[in-house]
């Protein structure tokens, strides 16, 4: 007897809704990570840009920037870390825009899987990718003179905070990826959001040198709060005044962006 075109049956596992959402998200995460591993160039080149920023600010601009009470390289690295994980979230929008463009989302939407899974899987794999990038940037930082003046635990706290922040905003970029007509436009849409937020912040220079109106923005916007938290956690100084508002911001952004992105996924046409 010849084999039938239809495979022999297998029973689906009985799973609770929550368990299903979790396992679906893990399947998508695995799929995305395989994709990243098959294109190692992507991870390589997305690390090159922050490395160039480290070198640029450390050796070209750094000498001209005064940072009271701290070596510039120590001041700089908090900004680089946060900038890097933020720019990494562009991958979330590009990845989803590509999936949409290539018809994969169409297949996923026709499967009886959790509606949150494609987004949760994408943001989770980008979170894991960010961990790798943070390790690379930390090593590069050490090579150019960056030192942690607190302790390892505080540094790990700083890493967790920036990952939390990156995770929250990657849900916002998930929305952009689903709203963009293609991955190129998704990328173009991301830059005008990322640039002002990273540069009009305390990432590279103290806000005190900026004109009053810009300074007011730079000192209070969430990116600066996260950067100041990371700086305090790695270099010392009062932490609670930065970390608490930063955590509130991250939580608020996550609570706003997750439903927004899932809503967009449900209705994407």
């Amino acid at each position: 007897m010849t084999a039938s075109v239809l495979p022999d049956g297998a029973s689906p596992l009985k799973r609770s809704k929550v368990h299903r959402a979790f396992s679906d998200a893990m399947v998508i995460t695995e799929r995305n990570l395989i994709g990243y591993l098959r294109i190692p160039e992507s991870l390589f080149f997305s690390s090159v840009q922050p490395i160039m920023f480290v070198l640029l600010f450390r050796y070209v601009f750094g000498g001209a920037i005064a940072t009271p009470g701290m070596n510039y390289v120590d001041y700089l690295m908090a900004g680089i870390f946060v900038q890097t994980v933020m720019f990494g979230s562009i991958n979330t929008s590009i990845g989803l825009a590509e999936d949409l463009q290539k018809g994969l989302i169409e297949r996923f939407r026709s499967l009886p899987m959790a509606r949150s899974a494609v987004l949760a899987g994408r943001t989770t794999s980008d979170l894991l990718r960010n961990i790798v990038v943070i390790v690379i940037i930390t090593l590069v930082g050490f090579a150019v003179g960056f030192r942690i003046h607190t302790n390892l635990l505080a540094f790990l706290g700083a890493v967790l905070l920036m990952l939390f922040f990156a995770y929250a905003i990657s849900w916002g970029f998930a929305y952009i990826g689903l709203a963009a007509p293609n991955s190129e436009v998704a990328q173009l849409m991301s830059f005008p959001i990322l640039f002002p937020l990273t540069f009009a912040s305390t990432a590279f220079v103290p806000a005190s040198t900026m004109p009053g109106w810009l300074r007011a923005f730079a000192e209070h916007q969430p990116v600066s709060l996260v950067i100041n938290s990371v700086r305090a956690l790695t270099e010392g100084g009062p932490t609670a005044r930065w970390v608490i508002p930063a955590l509130i911001w991250c939580t608020a952004l996550l609570l706003a962006f997750v439903p927004l992105a899932v809503w967009r996924y449900r209705r994407t046409s």
Binding site: L6, P7, D8, V27, R31, I34, K102, E106, R109, P112
Partner: protein, 318 residues
């Protein structure tokens, strides 16, 4: 006979003025193949998207396997397979990984998903390429993988959205053979196509859609019967001459007359004597045809007589 798919008055508009579906109703009996035929932009894909729950209609109702596509979407999803014209496989994943992923998303255990992936790869002659990223696959291999991915859970209803668009004739035949095999095994298939030959060969019933509405339906033979048994093609040096020729037939010719550029198509019902009549009519009007041919009517003629436009889309345009 029970209906695997029933749709009633589906309407879907995009933006304010694009009416992609303008009241589409259709039924597909279990175990049969329905061909949804029409040119690009006719509403074929939109219909499939509504029936596969990826698009919610503005109004109208549809049941697939007895489940409502809006209110019981998850039940519909568990009982259908979808293979799309864009060959929705992940090109970074291997063929095996793609199929296993779909199995796992259908809540199969990793082991079951792997086993079924291997069975499907074997059947679709992809075993050799199973561990290569699917971006290295040829168009035909990708399409086979895409169809295999739609079969992981043995769905009783399969949607194929332009399954052979862009394929070479050999790959097209391979896809056709798969569809025929599935139908023989009892699967209900809804197939969209712009290829008249494809609908002719695979579909038990054909629905012709144009601008979001059903403009004709029936078996291939029924649709052709409206055109008479034979078509007489007459070609002229230019459209003006063809137009004058068409005018000379007006009032005297009992069958259909379709003008298409410099080509005139006459339906012939009464056999050879009518062909003689056609030639005499031309002669008395003093018009010379550059080419003449008698042939069986094709579905293209059906479309042309229904809409005044040709359905066949060339590869470059699609």
């Amino acid at each position: 006979m029970s209906h695997a798919i029933e749709a009633e008055g589906l309407v879907k508009t995009f933006g304010t003025d694009v009416r992609a579906l303008d009241g589409v109703s259709l039924t597909v009996e279990s175990g049969t193949v329905l061909g949804l035929l029409g040119p690009n932009g006719a509403g074929k894909t939109t219909t499939v998207r509504v029936l596969t729950t990826t698009l919610i209609p503005d109004s109208g109702r549809a049941l697939v396997n007895g489940f409502d596509v809006v209110t019981q979407a998850d039940k519909v999803r568990s009982s259908i397979g979808l293979a799309g014209q864009y060959a929705a496989v992940d090109e970074n994943l291997t063929g095996r990984e793609n199929l296993r992923m779909v199995g796992q998303l259908l809540q199969l255990s990793r082991r079951d998903a792997s086993r079924i992936a291997d069975e499907l790869l074997e059947h679709f002659e992809l075993t050799e390429a199973a561990n290569r990223p699917s971006k290295t696959y040829s168009g035909g291999m990708r399409r086979r993988l895409d169809i295999a991915a739609a079969l992981v859970h043995r769905p009783p209803v399969l949607f194929l959205d332009e399954p052979t668009t862009g394929l070479d004739p050999k790959s097209r035949n391979a896809v056709w053979a798969v569809v025929e095999e599935l139908v023989a095994a009892g699967t209900t298939v809804l197939l969209t196509t712009q290829y008249l030959e494809e609908a002719d060969r695979l579909a038990d019933r054909i629905i012709v859609v144009d601008r979001g509405a059903v403009i004709a339906q029936g078996t291939s033979a029924e649709l052709k019967a409206d055109l008479g048994e034979t078509v007489l093609d007459l070609e002229f040096v230019d459209p003006d001459t063809a137009q004058r020729a068409a005018a000379s037939f007006r009032g005297t010719w009992t069958g259909g007359v379709v003008l298409d550029g410099s080509l005139l198509e006459l339906s012939v019902d009464a056999g050879p004597s009518e062909v003689m009549l056609a030639l005499r009519t031309l002669e008395s009007a003093g018009i010379v045809a550059t080419r003449m041919a008698l042939r069986e009517p094709s579905l293209d003629d059906v479309f042309l007589s229904l809409t005044g436009r040709r359905a066949e889309i060339t590869e470059e345009e699609s």
